[in-house]
Amino acid sequence: MTALSKTVDMSTTLGSVPIPSPVLTASGCSAFGRELEPFTDLAAIGAVVTKSVQLRPRSGRPTPRMAETPSGMLNSIGLQGPGIDGLLDAELPWLAERGARAFVSIAGVRVEDFAELATRLRGVPGVAGLEVNISCPNVESRGEVFACDPAAASDVVAAVRAAADPAQPIYAKLSPDVTDIVSVARAVVDAGADGLSMINTLLGLVIDPDTMKPVLGGITGGLSGPAIRPVALRCVWQVHQALPQVPILGMGGIRTGLDALQFVLAGASAVSVGTAVFNDPSALGRIHAELAAALGTRGFASLREAVGYAHR
């Protein structure tokens, strides 16, 4: 047998929840999973991380909502979505029927919004856990983003942990747009986060040289894609070094199995694939296979053995 055909144990966990693959979708990059069904076995991937859901349906922002940038893109969608009722009525049952695990991203503009969403998701079949999107403006703090303030971020996470189903792990999704991501990570873990999703997009801007105005209707947007990968990897490295026991769902520009491997070696026990899905709707299955092969050729018998290996 060649090294390539060696079977690598790819199972991992989200908090305490076992999943068969470390490769997940990324919130906001695969809607609620349905559209990927022709291209990806949704039950075989780690989980479908849903687009962030809020209490009410949201139209999102007017167009233009995106701008292509070198090895990436800027987006300003504005969290368009059906609201929690639409998610519970239509999207989560659809995923559950197919045996797909949902990791539900929740978002709000006040602490109570997050807690109410967590309450509504208690015991819902197929919900493997919650990702808390704290990269939202806090209306009670003049619109400052929760993720940029360790105290506000902790308030949200503590409220969600108190309200959520104890069987559902909660991951806080961190923004890289902070001075010290380790201090935010420490704060949300102290507040009860079972894991950390990192990173969210970086805030960016593109100006059209012809109109001489910002391209996006929302003026600024979130930068994603391979352009941000080194930043994301640095964040994962720093946080894993400071908090080695805390599970990390790593993301930011992952396009290949070798990209995913870097995140695992830096300390991620699972990864999300986001913008790459726009380029390759079959990316999740491909990256799982490429990562398994890359681990095998490097002599790892399991994914777990490789988590944080670069620090050792």
Binding site: E35, P57, P64, M66, G78, Q80, F278, N279
Partner: protein, 299 residues
């Protein structure tokens, strides 16, 4: 209560979803032919060809496997036959320019067929097909299908100038009547497509159009004013083409009468012409579902 400019009855029903799911394949280019300002690419893509219906599109990855251009380029299917899918590409930016530089023997990664096809015409209706620029290419397969179904077909192809016209020869062969208009008079009649549309509309029972947004609006408005149902295939920029990126939205009135920011890829690209709120594209009005959560409320 609806906004004052909204209709209360509609001549169209939302286009139904396609019969088949899309596939992603690496396919060979078997033909690359410059046609005036455009390039017609022919792809050996039997699994896409057998699934495709007129009005649908394909989405290309551009620049090769290590490309820094990550977003897919969505282009309407012109014709399918014998396992070959043809598209007409207009070189606008680096991605579409890369596509126009493909040569026979090259391979491309393509996803399709995507989007909702043109709905069938009313029984026995004469159809008017209106194409603006390379948008006319998207009507060639439809013209052939309509003729095969026993429908009379009138067609209008318009563009800024003669070299921006598209698929005129194919439409000449298929349609019972073809009118050509150019803004500068370099081919056909000088003026906008509406010159010819206004003359042909009264004899038609359905309109299908593809082209720039302003043209679609003019054609849809003319049809609606005469009580003729119209279906328009829009060309919004898309990052993925499959419905996950949420970038290609525009305000469209659904079957329940409510306006939603609808994805051009999976809820379109074909929409009822009287259901697209053309004047509100690129804005957010209070009566769009979920606008209140964005802070846009009724004045």
């Amino acid at each position: 209560m609806t906004a004052p400019h909204l209709r209360t009855t509609y001549l169209t029903t939302p286009a139904p979803v396609a019969d088949s799911s899309p596939v992603q394949r690496t396919v060979e280019v078997v033909g690359a032919r410059p046609v005036d300002a455009y390039v017609e690419l022919r792809l050996a893509a039997p699994e896409i060809a057998e699934r495709a219906q007129p009005g649908q599109f394909v989405a290309f990855a551009v620049g090769g496997e290590t490309s820094g251009l990550l977003l897919r380029r969505s282009i309407a299917i012109s014709t399918v036959g014998d396992g070959v899918v043809s598209v007409v590409v207009s070189a606008a930016g680096p991605g579409s320019t890369w596509l126009t530089q493909r040569r026979p023997g090259d391979t491309v990664d393509v996803v399709g067929p995507l989007g909702r096809p043109f709905p069938a015409p009313p029984a026995g209706a004469r159809a008017l097909l209106v194409g603006g620029g390379y948008g006319a290419a998207a009507l060639v397969g439809l013209a052939a299908q309509l003729k095969a179904g026993g429908h009379e077909v009138a067609a209008v192809a318009g563009a800024a100038a003669a070299d921006r016209l598209c698929s005129v020869q194919e439409l000449t062969e298929l349609a019972d009547i073809l009118a050509v208009t150019t803004d500068d008079g370099s081919s056909g009649r000088r003026g906008l497509v509406t010159l010819a549309v206004d003359e042909l509309l009264p004899d038609c029972g359905v309109v299908y159009a593809c082209g720039p947004m302003r043209m679609l609006q003019a054609v849809a408005d003319a049809a609606t004013a005469l009580g003729v149902p119209s279906y328009v295939a829009v060309e919004e920029s898309m990052a993925c083409g499959i419905g996950v990126c949420m970038t290609c939205v525009l305000p469209v009135v659904g079957s329940d009468g409510a306006t939603r920011l609808s994805r051009s890829c999976t809820e379109g690209p074909v929409f009822g012409g009287d259901r697209v709120r053309f004047d509100d594209v690129g804005t957010l009005t209070w009566d769009v579902v979920g606008a209140d959560a964005m802070g846009v409320t009724r004045p």
